[in-house]
Amino acid sequence: MSAVVAEHDHHDHGPAKGLLRWIITTNHKDIGTLYLLFALAMFFVGGAMAMVIRAELFEPGLQFVDPAFFNSMTTMHALVMVFGAVMPAFVGLANWMIPMMIGAPDMALPRMNNMSFWLLVAGVLLLASTLLMEGGAPASGWTLYPPLVLQTGKALPFAIFSVHLLGISSIMGAINIIATIFNMRAPAMTLMKMPMFVWTWLITAFLLIAIMPVFAGAVTMLLTDKFFQTSFFDAAGGGDPVLYQHIFWFFGHPEVYVMILPTFGVASTIIPVFARKPLFGYSSMVYATAAIAFLSFIVWAHHMFTVGMPIAGELYFMYATMLIAIPTGVKVFNWTATMWKGSMTFETPMLFSIAFVVLFTMGGFTGLMMAIAPVDFQYHDTYFIVAHFHYTLVPASIFILMAAGYFWLPKWTGHMYNEKIGQLHFWLSAISVNILFFPQHFLGLAGMPRRIPDYAIQFADWNMISSIGGFIFGASQLLFLYIVVDTIRGGTGEKVTAEVWEDASKHSLEWTLSSPPPYHSFTTPPTSIPTEHI
């Protein structure tokens, strides 16, 4: 006869013990941590690929890798950074921060949350496995344009299935975020009191649900064209490869906003705290985000000015694209106005945020240049576009992710990071990122095409400078890895308070919880909502 111990079923139980905790967890903080660590690992994997690219381009001629592998590197670098690093990092932040910011105990659909993380891991591993396959990993560029992509070797179906998995994972993540924001808010947290990070993620989640299935459809058409005798994109069977480009960019343009809108959200969260002022123009920020999201659906063909479009189409896509500069400009002016006459201090998160405002604006302006259809014929598929989108991703999305790390690590761990090393990381990154990408504008204007392993010797000098910047930038990121590990293990030893940063609890709810916060965030909804962020 065995004694049955009836355990009291209570809700504030802690995490499961041992390694299994991380596999079966349904806790929003655990899953957030998994996402963030996975994204950090992929940041270094994708970064290593970028180092291969920059090493090969250090001098003209073929040095280290053969051209097919080089093309695989440009393709895989992009796919890993977009789907393995930047997007999962923001989903990780959403998991950690959204329940705490809106006064909820956890995410709305915790088990689906676990599944979407592990599907992401499966998708990325499947994608990485294509590197070992006969014929090599996809080498057509991340856009996977046919007919080129159909010449991929054995890897093609695996790469396509991996896109399916990544798509399903993102859609599930997005559904969870929307359900959390709509149904789990504390009663006092009205929509127009939500922190900007929550707002930008709400809009991003809708974008994801709208576009990921379209991309999944496009790659499915590639799959059936290759293996099941359909002719969606096959001219010989009456199809049209240009159709793929339309479908891809219907996904692809909003996709770049999936990476930048949460960036805006984090910047709008950090800047007011260190300027010690409310965010300037909160409601205009909300409407600008919504406007950018809407416009992102009607501008896709600005990626296709050179493929042949009616004049009316070129003009329409040119003007529609330029319109995006208006809501984006609203945001840049709002951040600047937030800092205006603020009592600013320059801790590492603020430094990264200020660099973001400056450098993202530059990336935005080169985007405006390329929106002009007639001159885009010169920039198209040159290093100018490479410089443009790296300015909007590296010193924007990546810098803001770094800022978010420095900003919230003390909250997550209860330990303070080493500010000196943080500042060093910032200055090395901010300087080297410009050495890395600024010369690529010149290369592009001089006519150097993208996605080539070898180049004419007139491009040698700027490529060498760019590569040197790349190596410094890559090495500097190891400092961030050090900081993360060091802070988790105790950091400076300084005990941090609940609000960590001066008066942060006036800005947002997460700073009213202890550092580190309890396993379940708000078991009873908070009644008073900080409104300094508005």
């Binding site: 105990p105 956890d106 709305a108 659909l109 689906m112 859609i171 997005a174 559904i175 969870n176 929307i178 359900a179 709509f182 149904n183 789990m184 649900i209 709208a210 576009i211 990921m212 299935p213 379209v214 991309f215 999944a216 459809g217 496009a218 058409m221 005798q229 969606f232 096959d234 001219a235 010989a236 069977g237 009456g238 049209d240 240009v242 159709l243 339309h246 479908i247 219907f250 042949g308 479009m309 009616p310 004049i311 009316a312 189409g313």
Partner: protein, 183 residues
């Protein structure tokens, strides 16, 4: 989480999942939509829809105008064929009918199914270039080592705007043998 909220969450998740499935369908709906949009008259068609056969009608021949038509022949990837036009270019009067012969040969020891796809430059003239007879209207079958002379009969509609003095017609042969066998 209360039962009430949990139910609300599941309901919302279902609705959003439906939206995602609908968007997957929308991706496929873009295929016919694309064809429809390319057909619209007010869009200057860039995608030549010139695989259509047009009946021969008598036009007023415009002897004062001369348009140069250039012919280009290409093989897709490594399609094992020989393919060329009997002349590289032809000076034509709008409204007059011409026939140009194309020469194609199967270089392999097996039967082959191939398809020629036309393309125009500048793209807008495709609607003025009317074909009465063309090897591009359908798939061509070749016996092993077979060579064919294939005529293409066309007229340029006199409505062609004055500014077009030179037009290029390009044909690309695609090897469809594998696809037609599987079908």
């Amino acid at each position: 989480m209360s039962k009430d909220v949990a139910n609300k969450n599941i309901k919302l998740a279902r609705t959003l999942l439906l939206v995602a499935v609908a968007m997957f369908g929308f991706g496929y709906a873009l295929v016919p939509l694309y064809d429809v949009l390319c057909e619209w008259k007010w869009i200057e068609r860039d995608r030549p829809d010139d695989i259509k056969k047009v009946p021969e009608v008598a036009y007023q021949i415009d002897r004062n105008r001369e348009v140069t038509v250039e012919f280009m022949t290409t093989l897709n990837e490594s399609t094992p064929m020989k393919f060329r036009a009997e002349k590289k270019q032809l000076k034509v009067h709008p409204g007059e009918y011409y026939t140009v012969n194309f020469y194609a040969e199967n270089k392999t020891d097996n039967a082959m199914v191939a398809r020629a796809i036309p393309s125009f430059s500048p793209a807008v003239i495709s609607s003025y270039f009317e074909k009465i007879e063309c090897f591009c209207f359908s798939e061509q079958t070749f016996k092993a080592k077979e060579a064919k002379i294939m005529p293409m009969r066309f007229v340029i509609n006199p409505a062609l705007p004055e500014q077009y003095k030179t037009i290029t017609l390009s044909y690309t042969f695609f090897d469809n043998t594998e696809k037609s066998v599987k079908k």
